[in-house]
C-alpha cells in the first residue's frame, strides 16, 4: 500500500501539494511548542528548558512506532521508503559542526523558519547564514568532497548495527525516552521551577507511561520487514537449508517436463539477457542474476505450486541466484544440477547400461529420445506467461534527505 505516491496509488501531481500541507502542519506544531524561540531551544543544553528533548524524543518515538505498526500490517514497504544512507565520517563530523551551529546560533534550520514567520530577526540572520554556509560549502567542495563520501555503509538500520532485533531496539528507545523524560523533569524542577515545566505540569503521566512501555514490550515480539511481501530469512536458517542440499533438480526431471510439454515447473535463466537471447531452455523466463531482488519478479518468484528452477551455464551463478532468492524469503526455489552444460552432457554422454536394470534402461532410452528431440528441434513449448507484474509501473524508491 504505502508509501502512496512512490507506489503510484496517489498520483505524482499531488506530491507538492502534500509537501505543502505536511510543511504547514510541521511548522504549526513547531511554533505552538515554542520552537520559534532561540532561548527556549538553547535551554535544553543549559538545563532550564527541556522542550526540545521532550518534543524531539516523543516525535521520533511516535513516528517510529507508527512505522513499525504500518510495517507489520503491510501498509508500508520499507524498501521503497527513503532510509537515509550512512556515510560514517561526514555523519559524525557534520553532526559536530551542526552542534556548534546550534549553540552559537540558537536554532536549527526547521525551527529558524518558524521563528522567521513570527518576526524573529535573529532567526532571519541565522537563515541567511545557512544559505551563505551552503554557498561556502559548494564553492569549497573540492576541499570537502573526499570527506563527504567517506565511510559509506549503505542505508543500514540501527538495530542491525547494534546486532539486535528491530523490536528490541524499539523497546529500548521507548524506555530510554521515558527515563530521559523523568530525569529532565526533575532537573527542570531544581533549576527553574517556574518555566518549562509550566506546559506539562498538572497532568498525570501514569497512564501514558504505562501504555508506552506496553507498546514497547509488544514491539519486541513484532517482526520488522525490510521488504514487504517477502519474509526475509535469517542467516542461521539459510545455512541449514544450504547444508541440507536438497534444492537441486536433476536434468532428467527438467528434460522430462519440457519433453512432455507439461509445466509443473517455472524455468528461470539467470544468465545475462545477451546469453539468454542466444539460447535458452524453451519456456524459460530470463531474470539476470542482478535482477533477482527486483520488485518486478516478486510474483513470479513467489510461486508456491510449481517449482521455480534457476539455471545457468554451470551451477555457480544459479547457486548465487538461489542464495539471493532464499535470503529474500522465496522458498520454492531450486537449482538445475549441472546447469545447461550438465544438462546437455547427460544427453550426449548417454551410455547404454550394461546390466539392463529396469530404471537405468528407461533412463537411457529417455535420454536418447530427449537428445533427438533437442537436436531435431521437435520440442514445441508454450512460452511461459510472465505474470502481471510487468504491467505495473516501475516503482522507483523514494528520494529524500536534505
Amino acid at each position: 500500500m504505502g508509501p502512496l505516491i512512490p507506489n503510484g496509488i496517489v498520483g505524482m501531481e499531488w506530491d507538492l501539494f502534500f509537501a505543502l500541507f505536511i510543511g504547514i502542519a510541521f511548522g504549526y506544531v513547531l511554533e505552538s511548542a515554542g520552537f520559534s524561540s532561540s532561548r527556549r531551544l538553547a535551554g535544553v543544553f543549559y538545563g532550564y528548558d527541556f522542550t526540545v528533548l521532550r518534543v524531539f524524543f516523543t516525535a521520533g518515538v511516535t513516528a517510529m512506532v507508527g512505522v513499525f505498526i504500518f510495517n507489520y500490517l503491510g501498509w508500508i514497504d520499507m524498501s521503497v521508503v527513503y532510509v537515509n544512507p550512512t556515510f560514517l565520517w561526514p555523519a559524525i563530523v557534520g553532526g559536530v559542526i551542526m552542534g556548534f551551529g546550534f549553540i552559537l546560533g540558537g536554532y536549527c534550520p526547521g525551527t529558524s523558519v518558524t521563528a522567521v514567520a513570527i518576526g524573529k530577526i535573529d532567526a532571519m540572520v541565522f537563515l541567511a547564514g545557512i544559505v551563505l554556509g551552503i554557498i561556502g560549502y559548494g564553492e569549497g567542495f573540492t576541499f570537502f568532497e573526499q570527506l563527504s563520501v567517506s565511510g559509506y555503509l549503505g542505508p543500514i538500520f540501527i538495530f542491525d548495527t547494534l546486532g539486535i532485533t528491530a523490536g528490541w531496539f524499539a523497546f529500548l528507545l521507548i524506555a530510554v525516552a521515558l527515563i530521559a523524560f523523568g530525569v529532565t523533569a526533575m532537573i527542570e524542577e531544581k533549576v527553574n521551577p517556574e518555566s518549562g515545566l509550566a506546559d506539562t505540569k498538572g497532568t498525570s503521566y501514569f497512564i501514558p507511561v504505562t501504555l508506552a512501555l506496553l507498546v514497547g514490550v509488544v514491539l519486541i515480539f513484532t517482526p520488522f520487514e525490510r521488504i514487504t511481501g517477502v519474509g526475509e530469512m535469517d542467516k542461521e536458517e539459510l545455512e541449514k537449508v544450504i547444508v541440507s542440499d536438497n534444492h537441486y533438480v536433476h536434468s532428467d526431471e527438467v528434460a522430462f517436463k519440457l519433453f512432455n510439454d507439461y509445466h509443473p515447473v517455472i524455468l528461470i535463466d539467470v544468465r545475462s539477457s545477451a546469453e539468454a537471447a542466444e539460447f535458452t531452455l524453451p519456456g524459460s523466463i530470463n531474470i539476470p542474476l542482478e535482477q533477482i531482488s527486483s520488485r518486478r519478479w516478486r510474483k513470479t518468484l513467489s510461486e508456491k505450486e510449481r517449482k521455480v528452477i534457476f539455471y545457468s551455464n554451470g551451477t555457480a551463478n544459479a547457486q548465487k541466484a538461489w542464495l539471493v532468492a532464499r535470503r529474500m524469503g522465496y522458498s520454492n526455489i531450486f537449482v538445475l544440477e549441472g546447469g545447461l552444460n550438465g544438462f546437455f552432457q547427460n544427453l550426449e554422454n548417454n551410455v547404454k547400461p550394461s546390466d539392463y536394470l529396469h530404471e537405468s534402461e528407461f533412463a537411457y532410452r529417455f535420454r536418447e529420445k530427449s537428445r533427438q528431440m533437442f537436436r531435431e528441434g521437435k520440442l514445441e513449448v508454450k512460452k511461459e506467461q510472465t505474470t502481471s507484474d510487468d504491467d505495473q509501473p516501475v516503482v522507483v524508491a523514494a528520494k529524500g534527505g536534505c
Binding site: 504505502g2 507538492l16 528548558d49 504500518f70 527513503y82 537515509n84 526547521g110
Partner: protein, 172 residues
Amino acid sequence: MEQQKSQYMNSYLAGFLLGIVLLMAIFIAGRGLGASGAAKDLAAITVKAIAPEHASKTTFWANHLSGDSHPLKSWLSIEVLGVLIGGLLSGLISGRMRFKVERGPRVRVATRLGFALLGGMLFGIGAQLGRGCTSGAALSGMAVLSTAGFLTMMAIFGTGYVIAYFFRKLWI
C-alpha cells in the same frame, strides 16, 4: 520564560502531533521531513543569479540545478514554504507576532546577530556533510530507524552539551 501559565502547547502533545505529521510524510511521500535542503535550493539559485556561468561549470551547483523544474519547486522547498505558513498561522493565533532579536540577558544585539550568522553558516556546512539537519537526518532518521539518523543526532546533541558551557554568556 516570564509567563506564569505557559501559552505553549504541552510538549508531549506537540511531540506526538509532530510524530504523526512525520508518519504521514513517510506513509504518503515515502520520505521524512526536512529543512536544510530548501536552503540548498536557495543557495543554488543565488549562485546562479550572481554567477550563472560559474554555476553551470561547477559540478556541485550544476547537479543541483539540473532537471526540468525550477529548483524552488522541489519537495523540500515547498515543504519549507509550508513550515513558514504553519508557523505564521500558529504565531497569529497565539499572538506571538513581534519583530525582535531574541538573546540572552548578558549579550548585546550586535553580538547575538553576529553569532546567529556564524551559527547559521556552521549549520549550513554541517547539514551538507551530514546530509540533513535535525529534522531531515536526525528526526526522520529516528523514525525509519536508520543508523545515520542516530549517529548524526548523537553528534549534534553530544557536541552541544560539551561546548554549551563555553558559550553560556550567549544564553544565560
